[in-house]
C-alpha cells in the first residue's frame, strides 16, 4: 500500500502550493461564481414570489404541509456532519490522514449549516415573524413553546453553527498567520486582523492545542445531538413512518453518509482544480471511501431495522404506509433511494474503483442524490398517506420548491467558492505536522521521545520545534 502522503515534500512547497490556490482567481473561478449566482437567482426569484403570494404556489397543500423544503433542510444538516467527523472525531482518535482534507470538510460543515438554516425560515408561512421561535424578553410576556422540537432545532442549529464556525476559524489561525506573512496589500491587513496576532510561539501553540482539543470534544456530542434533534422533529410526532424510535441514530448515520459522499465530491474537485495531488492523495481518497462504505453499511442496517420493526410491529397503518412506499406512487423514488444508498456503495468496496477518480466523482454525486431522496422519502409519503384516508393525496412539488432547492446548491457553492479564496482549503500547518510526524515515526527514537513527552511531562521544547510554521 502506498503512503498517504509524500513524506519528502518540502514545507516551503506546501506553503507555495496552498497559497497558490488563494491567488487572484482565474476565469474558471468567475464562471463557477456566475453559475452559483445564476442558480441562486432562481431561488431568490422563487422566494420573493412565495413571500408575496404565500405558500400556495409551491404546491404545498393539505395534507402536504411540508415537502422539499424540510427534506432539503435535513439533507443539508446531514451533510454538515462529516466536517465534524473528520476534524473532531478523527482528531481525537488520532487518525492523522484526515489532516490534508479536514479543512474544507469543516468549511463544508459551516456552509451547509448556513444553507440548512435558511430552509426553516423559507418554509415558514410568516417568515417575517421567524424570530418568535427564539426566547427573548418581550413586553407581551410570551415565550416559545419549549416542548416543540422546532424550538430545539433553533437552539441546536444555531449552537452548532456557532461552534463549527468558531472551530473552523480557530483551526485555521496558524494558516492565516502564514497567509499574513506572505500576503501583500489589503490582504495583508485582512489576514493581520484574522490571524489575531499569531506568532507561533510555544505558549500560543500550547493554548491553541488545548483549545482545539476542547472544541473538538465539545463538537462531537453536539453534532450527534443536532441531528438527533432534527430527527426528533419526526420521531416525536405521532404519524406513521415518522414515529420511529431508531430515527436519531438513523439520521446521524445518514448524515455522516451524505457528508462523506460530499467530501469525496469536493475532494476530487479541489484536487483537480487546485492541483492538490500531493496532499489530497489517492490513498487518502481510498480511506475516505472505505469510511463512506462502512457508514453506508451502518445506514443500510438501520434502514433494515426500521423496516423490520414496522413489519413486526403492531401498527397496521405504519405497515400500510411502508407497503405504499414500496409499491405506491413514490415507489420509483423509494427504490432509487435504496439502490443509490445501499447497493451503489458496494462500488466503494473495490480497490480498482476506489482509485478511479472519475468513477468516484460520479458515485459520490449519486450517493448524495440517494441521500437526498432518502430525506424526501422520509418526509413526503407520510404526509401523503397517513391516518385519515380522506386526506390521502399525492402532490408533486412545483417550480417554486425546485427553484429554491436548486438555489440552495448555488448558495452553498457560492459560500464555498468564497471560502477557498480566503482561507487555505488545505491546512498547511497540519500537513507539515503530518509529514514531520510520518517522517519521524519511522525512527523509533523520536517516537520514544514523543511517548515520553506524553507520559513524563517533559517540557515541550525538547521536541524538535515546528519553527518552520
Amino acid at each position: 500500500m502506498s503512503k498517504d502522503i509524500n513524506e519528502d515534500i518540502k514545507w516551503a512547497k506546501i506553503n507555495e502550493d496552498v497559497l497558490r490556490s488563494m491567488e487572484n482567481p482565474r476565469k474558471g473561478y468567475w464562471l463557477a461564481i456566475a453559475g452559483c449566482l445564476f442558480l441562486l437567482a432562481f431561488a431568490v426569484v422563487a422566494e420573493i414570489y412565495q413571500y408575496n403570494v404565500g405558500m400556495g404556489p409551491a404546491n404545498l397543500n393539505w395534507p402536504h404541509m411540508w415537502d422539499l423544503y424540510i427534506a432539503t433542510f435535513i439533507f443539508w444538516i446531514g451533510m454538515s456532519h462529516s466536517g465534524t467527523l473528520l476534524s473532531a472525531i478523527l482528531h481525537i482518535i488520532h487518525a492523522d490522514w484526515r489532516k490534508p482534507i479536514y479543512r474544507f470538510a469543516e468549511a463544508m460543515t459551516t456552509f451547509t449549516l448556513m444553507t440548512a438554516g435558511l430552509f426553516p425560515i423559507i418554509h415558514i408561512g410568516r417568515l417575517w415573524n421567524m424570530y418568535w421561535v427564539l426566547p427573548y424578553f418581550s413586553d407581551r410576556g410570551i415565550w416559545p413553546n419549549f416542548r416543540s422540537p422546532l424550538v430545539w432545532d433553533a437552539f441546536a442549529i444555531s449552537t452548532y453553527l456557532t461552534s463549527s464556525a468558531l472551530f473552523l476559524y480557530m483551526g485555521s489561525i496558524p494558516d492565516l498567520a502564514i497567509c499574513r506573512d506572505s500576503a501583500k496589500g489589503w490582504r495583508k491587513k485582512l489576514y493581520t486582523v484574522l490571524s489575531l496576532g499569531w506568532r507561533g510561539d510555544d505558549r500560543q501553540w500550547r493554548h491553541f492545542r488545548k483549545a482545539y482539543l476542547l472544541m473538538a470534544c465539545f463538537l462531537i456530542p453536539l453534532a450527534v445531538s443536532v441531528h438527533s434533534i432534527v430527527s426528533s422533529d419526526f420521531a416525536v410526532s405521532i404519524m406513521p413512518g415518522w414515529h420511529v424510535t431508531t430515527f436519531p441514530p438513523y439520521f446521524v448515520a445518514g448524515a455522516l453518509y451524505s457528508g462523506c459522499a460530499a467530501i469525496i465530491t469536493l475532494f476530487i474537485m479541489l484536487r483537480y482544480f487546485f492541483r492538490f495531488e500531493d496532499y489530497m492523495t489517492i490513498p487518502i481518497l481510498e480511506k475516505t471511501c472505505k469510511l463512506t462504505f462502512a457508514i453506508a453499511m451502518v445506514w443500510t442496517y438501520l434502514n433494515i431495522i426500521e423496516f423490520s420493526s414496522v413489519w413486526y410491529g403492531h401498527d397496521p397503518i405504519a405497515k400500510e404506509l411502508l407497503l405504499a412506499k414500496f409499491t405506491g406512487p413514490y415507489a420509483p423514488y423509494f427504490w432509487a433511494m435504496i439502490f443509490l444508498g445501499s447497493v451503489l456503495p458496494f462500488t466503494l468496496a473495490f480497490e480498482k474503483l476506489r482509485r478511479n477518480i472519475p468513477a468516484m466523482m460520479v458515485v459520490s454525486l449519486l450517493l448524495n442524490l440517494g441521500m437526498w431522496l432518502e430525506r424526501w422519502m422520509i418526509v413526503t409519503p407520510t404526509l401523503s398517506l397517513a391516518y385519515s384516508p380522506a386526506a390521502h393525496d399525492v402532490m408533486w412539488p412545483s417550480w417554486v420548491q425546485w427553484f429554491i432547492v436548486l438555489g440552495s446548491f448555488g448558495w452553498f457553492g457560492l459560500l464555498f467558492l468564497i471560502f477557498v479564496k480566503i482561507i487555505p482549503s488545505v491546512s498547511m500547518y497540519e500537513v507539515k505536522e503530518m509529514i514531520f510526524h510520518r517522517r519521524h515515526m519511522a525512527k523509533k527514537d523520536i517516537a520514544e521521545v514523543m511517548h515520553r513527552r506524553a507520559t513524563d511531562k517533559k517540557p515541550a521544547s525538547e521536541t524538535p520545534g515546528l519553527e518552520g510554521a
Binding site: 410568516r126 417575517w128 397496521p316 397503518i317 400500510e320 391516518y387 385519515s388 384516508p389 380522506a390 386526506a391 390521502h392 393525496d393
Partner: protein, 733 residues
C-alpha cells in the same frame, strides 16, 4: 316610499370602522391600520332601542332558496345580515336549515346582482330609470288583447301571487305558466286522482318502513329539511328501514338500508312485484282491488320482475318481507319514477302499494283545506314550459313577464325556446341576476333580494300545521336602484288603475292592511299592531286547515309489460341538494361544497357503473362524450357502483352561459340534450327517458374532487352495526 325608508332605518348599515367589521386578520403589516384617526366611525342618527352595536340581533324571515318555505332567523349586526339560521317556530324546518338556506346570504350579497333597470336598445341592454321602465311596460301593455299577456314564473304564493293575479286579470289574461324543473307534478296528479289531495302530508316519523322509488326526500324532494327532521325520528328506536329503488344513487339512496338499482323506467315493475310477493304471502291483501290492478300485480312474479328491473329477486323478497312485518310503512315515488313516458302509471303503482299496505291515513295524512286559496302556492312542472314554448311559437304572446324561473337554461335544446322567444314582442324579467332568460329580456327590472324584501309565502307542501311564512327585510337594500317585487306590482297595478290598490303607498302598507284584514280567529283578540308584531317576531302564521279525509281510489292504470329498453343508456339528469335546478350555481359556497356522493366541486360530472367504464375504457376523472338525438355534452366520469349500468347520470345545475362569475362557463347542462318525450297522461316532460350514446375522449384525469381514498382502508373511521344490535342496546331508550 319615504315611509318605508324611515321604517327601515334600524336596518341601516353602520360605519364599518366603528366596530371593526372586515377584519383582515393577521398582520401582514399592511393590512392592519392602527394609526389614530384613520378609520371612521358612524353613529346612528336616531337609535333603535333594541339595536346595540357589537351585538347581533335576530330577525325572523323566510328562506326562498327553494320552494319548501323554511323559516329563517337572520343574525343582523350593525345593519348587516351575517348569518342565517333556521327558525324554531316554523313547523317546516323546526330550527334547522340546509346548505342552500345557509347560503342565502351569498345570494343576497352576490357580487353579480343586477343593480339598475335596463332596457334593450338595439342589441344590448342599457340602463334606464325606473320611471322609464314602468312607463315602457305601461305603453306595451295598454291596449293589449288580454290573452296575449302571460306570466312565466317559478312556484309563487302568498300576497305576491295575489298581486300577480290581480295584474294579470287587470289586463285580462288567464295565462300564468309555472315552471319548476324539480317538481312532483306527476305525483301530485296521481295523489289527486287516488287520494283526493294533491299534496298529502307524509309522516316519515311514523313509518317503520319507507320504500322510496327515486324520491330523494332528503335532498331535493318536496321539503328536504322537514323530511330530514322527520327522518331523524324515523331512525330513532324502533328504527325504521329505508329502501331506495332507483337507477342512480341519490343522497337518500346513500342513506338507505338497502339500495336497489333498477333499470331506468322499471320502478313500477318493482313496485308491482313487491305487491305480488305481498299477496303471495297474504292473498287477502288484494281484497277490494279492481280486477285490472290484480292482473297487473299478478303479471310480475319475482323472476320476471327481476329480469325486467335488473334487481335481484332476493331484494324483492326482502323488501316485501319488511313491508309485511312492519307497519305502518310509506311508499313514495320521485323524479326517476315520474320522469318517463309511463311515469303516471309507475307512480300509481307505488300508490297502489300504499293502499295495499293500508298506509293511507296512517303515514299519508290529509293536508286539509287551506283557508286562503288565493295565497296558496301556484305549482307547476315542465308541462307549462312545453305549453309556453308552443304558445310562443304560435305567436300567441306579445308581453311576457318572467320571474324566478330561468326557462332558457332549463328547457331542452329541442324545444328551441331560445330562438322562439324572439317571437315575443316584449319580455320583462323581474330578476336579481343576469341569467340566461334575463339576458334575452327587453326590460330587466332588478329586484330586491329575498333578504331585503317583504312578502308572504305558502309552501306547496305543508307538513303538519299549515303556515303562512313571513318574509321581512333583514337589511337595508344594498342598491338604490333595486326595488321590491310587491312594490313594483303595486306601481303597475296603480298604472293599470286596478281597483283597490291606489291607497297603498308601498307593499309594506299593503301587507299591513292584508294582515289587519285577517279573520279574528287568527288574531286571538290581539290588536292589529300587536298581531303584526307577533307575526313578525315569530316569522310564521299558523292557520287552521281543518280535518281532511283521504280517499283510496285505485284508479285505472296500465304499465307497459316491459317498460325498459335494455341495452340502451339512459341519461339521468339528477338533481342535487346544493345546486338545485341551477339557481344556486352562482353561490360560491355551494360551488365549493363537494357533492355528497361524488365529492366533485365546481364542475359537472357523469356517473357511470364500472361495467360501463370497462366497456368505454375510462376511469374516474376521464372525460366522456354523451350524445343524444339533440346534442352532445362532455363530462368527466365518476365510476362507482351506485348507478345502474344502463344509466348515465349527469347532475343538473351547471353549464350556465351567463349568471355571474361563479356560474358562467362551468360544467355542462344535461337538460339541454333531453329528448322531448312527454309523460303520457300529464304531459310533463319525461326527463329521465332520454336515450344516449357514450364514447370516450382523449381528456384524462381532469376532475376536481374532494377526498383521497374511496374506502376507509379498514381503519375504523366509520363503524357500522346492524339494526338488531341497535335494537338490543338502544331499543328501550
Amino acid at each position: 316610499m319615504s315611509n318605508k325608508v324611515n321604517r327601515r332605518d334600524f336596518l341601516k348599515i353602520m360605519g364599518w370602522g366603528g366596530v371593526g367589521a372586515t377584519l383582515a386578520g393577521c398582520d401582514m403589516p399592511t393590512t392592519v391600520t392602527l394609526e389614530e384617526g384613520k378609520e371612521q366611525v358612524t353613529s346612528y342618527l336616531v337609535p333603535e332601542e333594541y339595536v346595540i352595536p357589537g351585538v347581533g340581533v335576530y330577525y325572523a324571515s323566510t328562506c326562498l332558496q327553494c320552494p319548501a318555505g323554511c323559516g329563517l332567523h337572520g343574525r343582523v349586526r350593525e345593519g348587516r345580515i351575517l348569518k342565517l339560521e333556521g327558525n324554531p317556530e316554523s313547523p317546516v324546518n323546526q330550527g334547522k336549515l340546509c346548505q342552500m338556506g345557509q347560503a342565502g346570504v351569498q345570494t343576497h350579497y352576490n357580487p353579480d346582482r343586477l343593480t339598475r333597470p335596463m332596457a334593450r336598445k338595439g342589441s344590448g341592454l342599457t340602463p334606464v330609470s325606473w320611471d322609464e321602465a314602468l312607463s315602457m311596460i305601461q305603453s306595451k301593455t295598454s291596449g293589449l288583447a288580454g290573452e296575449r299577456f302571460a306570466w312565466f314564473t317559478d312556484t309563487v304564493s302568498g300576497h305576491q301571487a295575489v298581486l300577480m293575479d290581480a295584474y294579470r286579470e287587470s289586463i285580462g289574461s288567464s295565462r300564468h305558466y309555472v315552471h319548476e324543473i324539480i317538481n312532483n307534478s306527476v305525483a301530485r296528479q296521481v295523489n289527486q286522482d287516488m287520494l283526493g289531495d294533491p299534496q298529502p302530508h307524509l309522516r316519515f316519523d311514523k313509518a317503520r318502513v319507507v320504500l322510496s322509488f327515486g324520491a330523494d326526500f332528503l335532498g331535493t324532494w318536496q321539503s328536504p329539511v322537514h323530511n330530514a327532521v322527520e327522518y331523524a325520528t324515523f331512525r330513532e328506536a324502533p328504527r325504521g328501514v329505508l329502501v331506495q329503488v332507483e337507477p342512480k344513487m341519490t343522497l337518500t339512496g346513500a342513506n338507505a338500508d338497502l339500495w336497489v338499482a333498477v333499470r331506468p323506467g322499471t320502478e313500477g315493475v318493482f313496485a308491482l312485484a313487491v305487491a305480488n310477493a305481498l299477496s303471495a304471502k297474504d292473498p287477502a291483501r288484494l281484497d277490494g282491488l279492481p280486477d285490472k290492478a290484480r292482473q297487473l300485480i299478478r303479471r310480475y312474479d319475482i323472476k320476471k320482475a327481476s329480469r325486467i328491473t335488473g334487481a335481484s329477486g332476493d331484494h324483492i323478497v326482502k323488501v316485501s318481507g319488511w313491508l309485511a312485518e312492519r307497519s305502518p310503512s310509506l311508499v313514495i315515488a320521485g323524479a326517476s319514477a315520474e320522469g318517463h313516458e309511463h311515469g303516471y302509471d309507475t307512480v300509481a303503482a307505488t300508490m297502489l302499494l300504499n293502499i295495499i299496505l293500508g298506509n293511507i291515513g296512517k303515514t299519508i295524512e290529509s293536508s286539509g283545506t287551506f283557508p286562503f286559496p288565493q295565497l296558496a302556492a301556484r305549482t307547476g312542472g315542465t308541462k307549462d314550459l312545453i305549453d309556453f314554448a308552443k304558445a310562443v311559437d304560435d305567436k300567441e304572446l306579445d308581453v311576457v313577464f318572467f320571474r324566478g324561473a330561468n326557462p332558457v337554461f332549463t328547457a331542452p335544446e329541442t324545444l328551441g325556446l331560445k330562438e322562439k322567444l324572439n317571437k315575443v314582442g316584449f319580455k320583462v324579467a323581474f330578476s336579481m341576476f343576469e341569467d340566461e332568460t334575463t339576458r334575452m329580456a327587453d326590460l330587466v327590472l332588478p329586484m330586491y333580494s329575498p333578504l331585503e324584501d317583504w312578502g308572504t309565502h305558502v309552501a306547496a307542501y305543508q307538513p303538519g300545521p299549515s303556515v303562512i311564512a313571513i318574509q321581512q327585510p333583514l337589511m337595508q337594500p344594498l342598491y338604490d336602484q333595486t326595488r321590491g317585487f310587491g312594490d313594483v306590482m303595486l306601481s303597475l297595478l296603480k298604472m293599470q288603475k286596478a281597483a283597490g290598490y291606489s291607497d297603498y303607498p308601498d307593499y309594506y302598507a299593503y301587507l299591513r292592511d292584508a294582515f289587519s284584514a285577517m279573520p279574528g280567529s287568527l288574531k286571538n283578540g290581539a290588536s292589529d299592531d300587536e298581531f303584526w308584531a307577533s307575526v313578525m317576531q315569530k316569522g310564521v302564521l299558523a292557520v287552521d286547515t281543518g280535518e281532511g279525509r283521504l280517499s283510496a281510489n285505485v284508479i285505472d292504470f296500465d304499465l307497459p309489460e316491459n317498460p325498459a329498453k335494455e341495452g340502451a343508456y339512459h341519461l339521468v339528469p339528477s338533481a342535487r341538494l346544493g345546486m338545485w335546478d341551477g339557481r344556486h350555481a352562482n353561490i360560491p359556497w355551494l360551488q365549493e361544497a363537494p357533492d355528497q356522493i361524488s365529492k366533485v366541486v365546481w364542475d359537472s360530472w357523469a356517473e357511470i357503473h364500472p361495467n360501463t367504464a370497462r366497456k368505454l375504457g375510462v376511469k374516474t376523472g376521464d372525460a366522456i362524450k354523451i350524445t343524444s338525438a339533440s346534442g352532445t355534452i362532455e363530462a368527466n366520469v365518476y365510476v362507482y357502483k351506485g348507478i345502474h349500468p344502463d344509466a348515465i347520470a349527469v347532475p343538473m345545475g351547471q353549464g350556465h352561459e351567463a349568471y355571474g362569475r361563479y356560474a358562467k362557463g362551468r360544467g355542462v347542462n344535461p337538460l339541454k340534450i333531453l329528448a322531448l318525450n312527454t309523460e303520457g297522461k300529464t304531459g310533463e316532460l319525461a326527463h329521465h327517458g332520454t336515450e344516449v350514446q357514450v364514447s370516450r375522449t382523449s381528456v384524462r384525469d381532469a376532475m376536481v374532487q374532494f377526498g383521497g381514498s374511496e374506502t376507509q382502508m379498514g381503519r375504523k373511521i366509520i363503524a357500522t352495526v346492524t339494526a338488531d344490535v341497535y335494537e338490543r342496546t338502544e331499543g328501550e331508550a
